[in-house]
């Protein structure tokens, strides 16, 4: 996501790199080559990302309802009406958006914290060789390797009220409650979704942290051991400081993925999520493809994008500043 090393000044490499003497025409051709190589991706990027993005922003200023979807040029202009509509927090639509936004923030923070903590613990446990480490690492990769829809469908089966595994264990085997709780609707659905999302996400954090830890020099641990540091102190004073740049990127990536999550709730709940677990992507989807109001759907998407850009920018500024201080 973030290119690590800033590019050296243009041309330095061409000058210092290969053979010193070249015909001027050849040199010109060489400088054109990178652009020719980029051309296909640039064209594709324009078609799939840049143009749709501008059209999306444009759509947010149109009254693009189901009557005009087949011919958007006929859709009436709406000015800022879509934005006003979705941001009317004392009306039902604005309340629902605000609620969904708040739900998504809580969801993201909890999922992030749990996934990171599990991944960090597992990475510390598997950092040094022991019998069975390879097997355990492979097992941890499986949730990440399974297609999301297949594993999340399985979770929704496990969380069925009457014939699911979870209630069988809680109610029939452990006798924790008499009442069989619903997991896919109502208040519990938020927590059920969190469990599924953490199950799905923590292995990636584990991968990233494991990779980060593998590049920590063994001497640092040896030095810490000589100074009398135990496991916890060497995690605190050797592992964590060395992982700082890994964590900076990892947390940002996890944040963006979780905040934008659609596949998991859609597979888990179907087309409409229960109010308690109505994540923002699902909310926009619902508004656009169930009630067919593309204008307000686009306005919400643009607001979401602005929010994500703002968070990312602030985050990058804050983490960069810390680097300077250190």
């Amino acid at each position: 996501m973030i290119t690590a090393n800033p590019a050296p000044e243009a041309g330095t490499e061409a000058r210092t790199g290969s053979t010193p003497v070249r015909a001027p025409r050849r040199r010109k051709k060489r400088q054109l080559l990178p652009y020719l190589l980029l051309l296909p991706v640039v064209v594709a990027e324009l078609l799939i990302h840049i143009v749709p993005m501008f059209i999306g922003v444009g759509m947010s200023f149109l009254g693009l309802t189901q009557f005009f979807i087949r011919n958007w040029t006929k859709a009436p202009g709406a000015g800022l009406d879509n934005y006003r509509f979705v941001l009317q927090f004392d009306e039902a639509s604005g309340k629902a958006l605000l609620h969904s936004f708040w739900t998504t923030i809580q969801f993201t923070v909890i999922v992030l914290a749990l996934s990171w903590a599990l991944a960090m613990a597992a990475a510390v446990w598997t950092q040094h060789a022991f019998r069975g480490r390879g097997l355990v690492r492979t097992i941890f990769l499986i949730p990440y390797a399974l297609p999301v829809f297949a594993s999340v469908i399985t979770w929704s089966f496990m969380l069925q009220r009457d014939n699911g595994m979870v209630n069988h264990v809680l109610v029939d085997q452990l006798h924790l409650t008499d009442e069989r709780p619903f997991w896919l609707i109502g208040d519990h659905s938020f927590w059920a979704l969190i469990v599924v999302e953490v199950w799905r996400l923590w292995p990636f954090a584990f991968l990233a942290l494991t990779a980060g830890m593998s590049s920590i020099p063994a001497e640092q641990y040896e030095a810490a051991a000589i100074d009398g540091a135990g496991v916890l102190r060497s995690v605190r004073f050797v592992t964590l400081p060395n992982l700082r740049s890994v964590n900076q990127v990892l947390l940002l990536v996890l944040f963006l993925w979780t905040f934008n999550e659609f596949t998991v709730p859609y597979t888990f709940f179907g087309k409409s999520a229960p109010e308690q677990a109505d994540l923002i992507s699902m909310h926009i989807y619902q508004n656009s493809f169930v009630t067919w109001n593309f204008g307000t759907g686009s306005a919400m998407s643009v607001l979401l994008l602005l929010f994500l850009l703002a968070v990312t920018a602030v985050y990058l500024l804050l983490t960069r500043k810390k680097d300077v201080d250190a």
């Binding site: 290969s18 652009y35 296909p40 040094h128 492979t138 829809f149 399985t154 089966f157 496991v231 859609y266």
Partner: protein, 279 residues
């Protein structure tokens, strides 16, 4: 480092619990797929009452699973091959040349990865519908249409991961190729690509996996004839019955190839994923 007893025990317990958590759905998926329908309609059973392969036979008849399978295969394969082919050229330029706009290009491509899919889905849907209506180009509900939208997520990370892999190919190889009289493109095809094959295959598999599991675009941009597995599996829930044993059998069948591919290539995949995301 000396490991104290409490650490060894916490590791045993912690890793066992985490393995259990990771594997629980796999257990349910596998055992349920081997159950007769009666077993999945009543109380949950940890083991099938009788082991039967009925679900694996019936699942092809309850819904047109074969067609969905083919759709998923064509769409995922085309999208992943196309994005790797395009991305290879760009990644070579970014990895080997310093040119004006290099930074801008990288930042633009990578930042599109953080945007929510729904942001691109809405305009692409409207563009497709309007192209069909006004120019007669029917992308909506077609396989090519879905493939184009899949590039929105397969292309950025292909560029991202391939730059990492190509960076790891030593430049001395390029120079040796130049000494042998190859131009830059000759060096690219004869030396750099062959040296990066494991990485390229890993990116291909990863792109394929991502496309294989995609739900958002497929749920909107497909119709009955182009539906992919990710959306089609919902069809096992009919009004009268939910064929959980068949759903699990189908889930297992569509998961097995990608899981095996992932585990076989995990070394290369992990290197690329982490090199790109976590530098």
């Amino acid at each position: 480092m000396r490991e104290p007893r409490w650490f060894v025990w916490s590791r045993r317990i912690g890793l066992s619990l985490l393995s259990l958590f990771a594997l629980l759905p796999v257990w349910v998926m596998v055992t349920t797929s081997l159950k007769p329908l009666g077993d999945v309609q009543g109380e949950f059973r940890w083991f099938p009452s009788t082991v039967t392969l009925d679900a694996f036979v019936e699942m092809w008849r309850t819904i047109p699973l074969g067609r969905y399978f083919l759709n998923s295969l064509v769409v995922s394969l085309t999208a992943s091959v196309a994005s790797v082919a395009l991305a290879l050229l760009a990644a070579y330029a970014v990895s080997r040349y310093r040119f004006r706009g290099r930074q801008l290009f990288s930042v633009t491509v990578l930042s599109t990865q953080m945007f929510p899919g729904i942001l691109f889905l809405l305009p692409l849907f409207v563009i497709f519908v309007n192209l069909g209506q006004q120019l007669g180009i029917d992308l909506y509900g077609s396989r090519p249409g879905l493939i184009i939208t899949y590039l929105t997520f397969t292309l950025p990370f292909s560029v991202w991961m391939l730059v990492g892999y190509l960076d790891s190919v030593p430049r001395e190889l390029d120079e040796a190729a130049a000494v042998d009289g190859n131009g830059p493109m000759g060096a690219f095809f004869r030396v750099v690509i062959p040296a990066a094959v494991p990485g390229i295959v890993a990116v291909l598999i990863y792109a394929f996996m991502t496309a294989w599991g995609e739900v958002l675009f497929a749920s909107v941009l497909t119709d009955e004839s182009t539906r992919t597995l990710a959306v089609g599996l919902q069809g096992y829930a009919t009004q009268n019955n939910v064929y959980w044993n068949q759903i699990m059998a189908a889930s297992l069948t569509v998961s097995a190839p990608v899981v095996v591919g992932f585990l076989l290539l995990q070394r290369y995949l992990v290197a690329g994923l982490t090199a790109g995301s976590v530098k």
